[in-house]
């Protein structure tokens, strides 16, 4: 693999892993609005 290949691969992976990691962190640490409401229910037919 060339230096250009390494740069493009690591940059691409850094972007997606960074974005994914940040989102997962926020999802886990942010209070879920659902928890404050009633539990999920089935549709009222």
């Amino acid at each position: 693999m060339t230096i250009g290949g390494w740069i493009s691969m690591t940059t691409s992976l850094a972007i997606v892993i960074g974005l994914f990691g940040w989102c997962m962190y926020k999802l886990v640490t942010t209070k879920d609005a659902n928890a404050e409401e009633e539990p999920a229910d089935t549709p009222k037919e």
Binding site: S8, C23, L27, P39
Partner: protein
């Protein structure tokens, strides 16, 4: 309106994120993306890809989430209702919403067929019926029975499995197994939708998402620990990565010999690279095919959709770039060398012909084959389910019927359309027509319509307010500007370029292909059906609103 599913919601934020990500993660991530990267400049392809992610995928996806949640708060869950309510109850926009349902409906008719191929292959590997006999990609003349031994044999096996040689081939004794699997897949998809978003789709997504990750990790570890399995120069794991990621490309002739080099600048200045990158983002993130907005319509009124939207997109990109980038191309280069590159152009060729050759040569190949096709199957089930839900939601609103009846109606129409794809398998001409018009053309068209709706009829300020509702991190002010003045013009340019490149050739080939013409007739019938149903439904809504102007106030107050 007593039959409207007003109180149905996702159970948790992580549940809806996994469901939307599951909807987006599919064959496109594991087969189409690596093929596109290789064919459009390797590492250089990632520049237009990331640009498309930033100016199309993230803003358009957020606007779609906002549209869905806004409509859900007003008691609508189908795209018809979404367009209708967001445009201020204008029937002209509502009709577009109704017609946009043709996209998930028709894609699903052939997608479940492909999903069944994946399960069929997984079962074959599990049962040891595709066992390796140690022959290479182009060596030997095939195997005996199902003991396959060369590229030709795998190609022949794939063709026979899907009935590529004659129409109606699957309705013979040899096709019964695949037909049974197709029916099982249809039943599984509609059963999950019947069980509802929380008890069906969300539970299944929570089960399948870790499974997909585990399967992908298993494959990656296996591939990374192979070293240079053939001992040939240029066929190590790093060479495989280089084949995919090097921005300066080597051009090969048909025998696999290097005949020249293509620089990264040449790749970037080629408009086709930008078109391919945008198409890949579209195909991958599943925007504007009604799935995301329908899922979002079941989100609770004060949930953080900015974070959910970004998380779902990020999960999809993680699966695509990291997992998809490592699983398919590197092992193909490691075992088959550059001569395998011819098979990277088509997702089906890569997945069902090239990779089985690789598994044959790979230590633990049979297990890897099972894990890989089970991974593809799991990823495609979550995608196809998301295509069923908008249709079922539409029939519930149109016919004011129960979910069970709506599922039944959708399943019957679905099977009628799927029959065209499953019967006309010769050269996969029906599947190709369905795929071209509804997985390539229609999403671009409806993306322009939907973004125009958000930008003009609904208004970008309302869109931004909806995204900000319940959001821990407020969406940037420039989001509205990006959707209106960047995403929409970019979509228009790409769509015009795509049409000038593809439409004329496709129309000419359709004139000579009776199956393609039959498919077009089916699409027209579908449009007429959706148009009539949408018009009648909106007329009824207007009458109800005239009679009881506050009929939706309880929902709007949420």
């Amino acid at each position: 309106m007593s039959n409207k599913p007003r109180h149905e919601h996702w159970g948790s934020q992580i549940g809806v994120v996994l469901a939307v990500a599951g909807s987006a993660v599919g064959l496109g991530n594991f087969l189409r993306f690596p093929g596109q990267v290789v064919n459009y400049g390797g590492g250089a392809f990632m520049i237009p890809y990331v640009v498309s992610l930033l100016i199309i995928a993230i803003p358009v996806s957020m606007s779609e989430w906002a549209l869905g949640r806004y409509a859900g708060r007003h008691g609508f869950h189908s795209p018809l209702g979404m367009y209708y309510v967001a445009s201020g109850r204008k029937r002209s926009w509502g009709v577009f919403g109704g017609l946009s349902l043709s996209v998930p409906f028709i894609i699903d008719m052939y997608y479940i067929f492909v999903e069944a191929w994946c399960l069929y292959y997984a079962l074959k590997y599990l049962g040891g019926m595709l066992e390796p006999i140690g022959l290479g990609f182009s060596l030997g003349a095939g195997g005996d029975g199902l003991r396959l031994g060369s590229g030709d044999a795998y190609e022949r096996f794939f063709g026979e499995t899907i009935g590529i040689n004659a129409n109606g081939a699957l309705f013979s004794r040899s096709g019964l197994t695949l037909l049974t699997i197709v029916l099982a897949c249809v039943a599984l998809n509609f059963l999950m939708v019947y069980r509802g978003v929380s008890k069906g789709i969300e539970r299944f997504s929570k089960l399948v998402a870790p499974l997909i990750l585990l399967c992908a990790l298993f494959m990656i570890i296996r591939i990374m620990t192979l070293g240079n399995p053939t001992g040939q120069p240029g066929q190590s794991f790093l060479d495989g990565l280089g084949f995919m990621w090097n921005p300066t490309r080597e051009a090969y002739d048909q025998s696999g010999q290097v005949v020249g080099r293509i620089s990264a600048w040449t790749t970037l200045l080629n408009p086709e690279t930008w078109l391919a990158a945008t198409s890949q983002i579209f195909y991958s993130v599943s925007i504007c095919i009604c799935a995301v907005c329908t899922y979002a319509s079941y989100v609770r009124p004060n949930e953080d959709i900015a974070l959910s939207s970004l998380s779902a997109t990020a999960t999809n990109e993680f699966c695509e770039v990291l997992l998809g980038g490592l699983i398919a191309i590197p092992p193909a280069i490691m075992f088959l060398g550059a001569r395998a590159a011819d098979g990277f152009a088509s997702s089906f060729q890569l997945g069902f012909i090239v990779l089985p050759n690789v598994f044959e040569l790979m230590p633990m190949g049979q297990l890897c084959g099972f894990v890989f096709f089970f991974l593809l199957f799991s990823a495609s089930v979550t995608s196809s389910t998301s295509l069923v839900l908008p249709v079922v939601a539409f029939f519930r609103e149109a016919f004011q019927c129960s979910r069970g009846l709506s599922v039944l109606i959708a399943a019957c129409i679905h099977l009628a359309g799927a029959l065209i794809v499953i019967w006309f398998t010769k050269g996969l001409s029906a599947l190709d027509a369905f795929d071209f018009w509804f997985a390539n053309f229609a999403p671009f068209f409806f993306a322009i319509v939907q973004t125009s709706l958000a930008a003009f009829a609904w208004g970008t300020l309302k869109m931004r307010d909806e995204i900000a509702r319940g959001a821990a991190i407020k969406p940037p002010r420039f989001l509205a500007f990006v959707v209106k003045y960047v995403s929409l013009p970019y979509l228009l340019i790409i769509a015009i370029f795509w049409m000038t490149r593809n439409l004329k050739t496709r129309i000419m080939s359709t004139m000579e292909d009776s199956v393609a013409q039959l498919s077009i007739l089916f699409f027209i019938a579908m449009f007429v059906f959706l148009f009539i149903l949408s018009t009648i439904t909106m007329k009824r809504w207007r009458e109800e609103e005239t009679r009881t102007p506050d009929s939706r106030s309880d929902v709007e107050a949420q």
